[in-house]
Subunit: 316 residues, 2 copies
């Protein structure tokens, strides 16, 4: 009844960190790591490997940089088969900061890239693969880049990169299931030697349904976060995905405990979830930056005016 | 780009009324009716036609009974093409209370029925049809009744009833898109002279995605509620459905205004939405009654213990 190739990647600390400048405490990260490990989830992504030349450690928390020693301190003493992943953005990483995998607690590096940066992403992926890491290319904002350049990118990744996985990322929370089916099939038509992954955003409450759709069409790497945490609308809720998958290695209990103890109180302090301005930017296939700005203003509940302004983008 | 046969039915007042004993004020119902009318939504369901012999008007609000005069007062003076629907439950309606359609503000009566009560539902539907109403049969808890008795019910409705629409109702919020596809196709195999409808519950954040799936497979009657209001997890959010449909007769603006003005404050007073115990009862294909009881207790956030108790239902 289940597909053993399916791997679940929890990106709670990494994607949730976009809300609070990656400033989760080491204790919080440790609680998440412990629960994810007990739940049998395959990977956990702790944050970004950003260059400290570009971002100040005074302004951002630990998980903006993911120093190996900080990761070690968060996980030490916890029994786990869960592999550790970090993300890098094209143009924001200093590759000399990255030690060989054999000297690091990190096992996977994921490179986030727009279609137009794919050559740079392939360079990074191959560099990290040569250092011994599992690697992925995560193609962001794919709903805006569906012309022939997307097929070209898929072909290049297949031919030129050592990536293990190519992710379809619905950055704007725009896609619904027919489009997910189309994109996964299109990726699989070009990519024969790597797995396909799916990362949904939950603007329109479609992240979980779209992840199921990706599973149906044989995507095997699936991103999710505890209680759906993430910037704005957040992501596919891990508890729903684990509840859906039938592999007996997964245990929902530790994730439910973690939500009760850590995420219900956290949700009182920071905002994510079903929020109308993000639903609007999702249905309009727009970056959430306007919604983020609205939520920080005194017009945060002026939905109709916001909708009209988004409709008129580019019409002036 | 759009299918003109598609009809949207807003059941905000009816399904939302399950949270507060149908005690929305006439002003609130009026505000909803006005916005739904301005948005161009096809139907609005105001509540239940329950017998006052069975339920006390002291204990329940107006919309438990939906007297014609109360509906008239809520809608009078508002320009509208939106048709008015009410729901009846098998065994809870006094048919002598129902005037001919020509003397009533109501245009559609929907009969909610379990598969095993389908003969009684057909009797009611035919009675109301003979009085001049549009009618539907809403098959509840369909995820629990997928044996041959379901095909028998579909055939009976097709052969013996005057219903205009047969609804698939995911009462427990259990279904995902493959199952919705299966059920819609199974209904359409038996039912040739009536439309198929879909009513989702949002336990697992799948109500909107499943409604899209029903559309893909040619269901034409779609239920939704403003801001997803409804008992527990609520329903398919109307604003997402209207944002998805391409028919130019729909206008999202009035719905967004209604959410800003009425539903954001209301959500501070009564609870609905993504709530873990309902997600659990949904993934286990169970009635939400245990989740409702939990939320009213001092263990409301004890998710893991609740999950274990639901897993053990019937195992004692």
């Amino acid at each position: 009844m289940y597909r053993p190739q399916i791997k679940v990647l929890d990106c709670t600390i990494r994607d949730g960190g976009l809300i609070n400048k990656h400033d989760f405490s080491r204790e919080f990260a440790r609680a998440v790591y412990r629960a994810i490990s007990e739940a049998g989830v395959d990977y956990i992504e702790m944050g970004y490997k950003n260059s400290k030349k570009l971002f100040s450690a005074k302004e951002f928390g630990l998980w903006k940089f993911c120093e190996d020693d900080d990761i070690r301190r968060a996980i030490e003493g916890i029994e786990s088969k869960t592999k550790i992943a970090v993300m890098v953005d094209v143009g924001r990483v200093d590759i000399d900061d990255i030690k060989p995998a054999s000297e690091s607690p990190v096992q996977m590096i994921r490179v986030a890239s727009y279609v137009k940066e794919i050559d740079k992403a392939i360079f990074l992926v191959n560099h990290f693969a040569d250092k011994g890491y599992e690697t992925t290319v995560n193609i962001m904002a794919i709903s805006k880049d569906q012309g022939p350049e997307l097929d070209e990118a898929f072909h290049q990744i297949e031919e030129e990169s050592k990536a293990n996985v190519v992710y379809i990322v619905d950055s704007f929370g725009f896609l619904y299931q027919e489009q997910v089916e189309h994109l996964v099939k299109r990726a699989k038509a070009a990519i024969k030697t790597k797995e396909i992954g799916y990362h949904g955003h939950n603007n329109q409450q479609l992240a979980f349904g779209n992840t199921i759709e990706a599973i149906i069409h044989n995507a095997n790497f699936l991103d999710a976060t505890v209680y759906g945490i993430g910037r704005g609308p957040g992501n596919c809720p891990l508890e729903l995905l684990v509840g859906f998958l039938k592999n007996p290695k997964f245990d929902l209990g530790p994730i439910l405990d973690l939500i009760s103890k850590e995420f219900i109180p956290l949700r009182e302090k920071i905002e994510w979830g079903y929020i109308i301005p993000y639903a609007i930017s999702g249905m309009m296939n727009e970056h959430p930056r306007a919604a983020i700005a609205l939520r920080a203003s005194d017009k945060k509940e002026n939905y109709r005016e916001f909708y009209e302004s988004i409709r008129n983008i580019g019409r002036e």
